[in-house]
Subunit: 350 residues, 2 copies
């Protein structure tokens, strides 16, 4: 029989039903008949204690539903087992996989994430940085939408920082980024491999780092195999509408394009629709490759879209692992580009 405290309903020891006042370690110690120091040792597996004492304390803790006060602990130990994650733009489609990956890697080490959304506002960013520092996070992951380098979020910070997806202009900082050029090369090589020779590239705005970088890599990959683009790169927006428009342009130039590498899945989707409306068959007449491997887009396309996956989750995981390493005293430096992979689907099936 478990004892039932007077008026408080006991719901069984495994249910997490902490009563209204927080239980402290001294209450546990009192119940077990030891000092608080001993109770602490018992619960943390430290010190020299008789097994039965240890057990008695553990049972007392269980019975009272004791959960150690993290603030008190971290005040003493200096560790918070918390990392901050600042998204410099907004939480969105790209941050989520990064976050999930990071959570994965950190969760294994029993750490939690403080999420801050700076919404592209430097003031907010610095405010959040202060907050994180005051909370004495063990480390910080900085992330954001743009893949070109940004100024470091702070200098001489007392905690390690890792940049994920975006990178820092300071080469001493540690950044984990997708290898977009590699992704573009994979796309081109794939299209060449299935026999396409007249390949066009439709992508986002020219001033956008990702767009111009991927375009250059694609062109080089073609040149490396002795080919030239079927048309000059078509720069526009990251939207379906632009994809549709670009399809019109390609059809009108009479360039006899037999494949298009698209800078995003959305552009590819627009192209797919417009091409099929114009009577072209995908992939027979024109093969298509997208970029991002965004599930709803690639699966929504008809036929399903071959796409380059930047493995954002892997980037998040990696960044978190590097942060953990830095926290444990072995920081990495520099820009770490992670290769993507090409996911072949019907839009390039021969």
């Amino acid at each position: 029989m478990t004892r039932v405290p007077e008026t408080v309903p006991e719901t069984g020891e495994e249910t997490l039903s902490t009563m209204d006042r927080a239980v402290t370690i001294s209450q546990v110690a009192a119940l077990a008949g030891v000092s608080t120091g001993t109770a602490s040792k018992a619960l943390n597996g430290r010190g020299a204690l008789r097994p039965e004492t240890r057990l008695r304390v553990q049972q007392a803790a269980e019975q009272l539903g004791f959960v150690a006060n993290a603030a008190a602990r971290s005040l003493q130990t200096g560790r918070t087992y918390t990392v901050g994650m600042i998204t410099t733009d907004s939480i969105g489609r790209f941050s989520i996989p990064l976050l999930i990956g990071a959570e994965d890697a950190l969760g294994a080490g029993q750490m939690s994430i403080f999420l801050c959304d700076a919404r592209d506002d430097p003031i907010r960013e610095q405010y959040y940085l202060r907050t994180l520092l005051s909370r004495k996070v063990d480390g910080i992951i900085v992330t954001g939408r743009r893949t070109d380098a940004r100024a470091p979020i702070g200098v001489g910070l007392p905690v390690p920082v890792v940049y994920a997806f975006i990178s820092s202009t300071d080469p001493q900082d540690c950044s984990v980024v997708p290898d977009e050029a590699d992704g573009a090369r994979r796309a081109i090589r794939h299209l060449l491999a299935i026999g396409r020779r007249r390949i066009a590239h439709v992508t986002g705005p020219e001033h956008h780092h990702s767009a111009s970088l991927r375009a250059r890599a694609a062109e080089e990959a073609l040149a490396g195999e002795g080919f030239r683009p079927a048309t000059p790169t078509l720069y526009g927006e990251w939207s379906e509408a632009w994809g549709r428009q670009a399809a019109g342009i390609l059809l009108n130039t009479g360039a006899e394009v037999d494949a298009v590498f698209c800078g995003s899945d959305q552009i590819a989707r627009g192209l797919t629709e417009a091409l099929s409306k114009a009577g072209k068959q995908v992939p027979r007449d024109v093969a298509l490759v997208g970029f991002d491997n965004w599930d709803v887009m690639v699966e929504g396309c008809q036929p399903a879209l071959t796409s380059v996956d930047m493995d954002l989750e892997g980037i998040g995981r990696s960044a978190a692992e590097m942060l953990l390493a830095a926290i444990n005293g072995t920081p990495a430096h520099g820009r770490h580009a992670r290769p993507g992979r090409l996911i072949p689907r019907a839009s390039t099936a021969v």
Copy 2:
């Protein structure tokens, strides 16, 4: 002249560049020539101090880049100015607006969010709950994808809990949810208002709470105006593929449908494509209304899709506000349904 510590480069006082060892309030106090207690009072605007003393302390804090240790503070005050957010399923399309809304409401009160992703795993959920309690969060927001009620995450918890998007089966708990029935009614009323009379409903799986709830509300809204559905509700999946399939069904039954209310934007998009491929014009022949108002979907549709917006951000904001109220001693109870709104676009333009 500011003194420059021996080897440490001083980067100017406004740059946030805390040096390697954390600055404590006693260092600030020492520099200002007061006791730590006085320094604390000076920085927090408490106590009776001469203005010049207060200023001296503030300048010292500034100069040293002092940021109060949150752990120490919360140990003393019992407040952490932190709330936990547990997503019971996964961080996804629905959680993000909720999170942003909550951040908005909490940020104004200078509180931060601890984000935990339980990934549909009750074990993880309880583990995270423990973590949040050990971190002594001031309150918890529970969220998730399903809109039907779920068992409370814990009973007799020492902190207030608000459910957002999902709701708790315990009527004493506070939940903020979208009024899906209201959304469905708006869709139907809109279609009736533009003169459609033969209205069908295509939605997700029948066992899915949202699907059956919206279907029922739609039917009642029709009946309320003296109409009957053009076909029985078509239950399927939450996917474009099902939308396309459903289009086929509708065309084959010869039901002469002139409008379709879709349970999701994805379904609507599938329908749009299949209908236009079959030679039907939207909205002339068939008007379409979606649900969710998911930007990439509604804008990707041709023509752009009229859709019901559940105002997730508003729900997140509301939930956070209610949590704040509860933290401050005036808890709300029960299920609070928030109306959505219909965003008219070309797919129902007359």
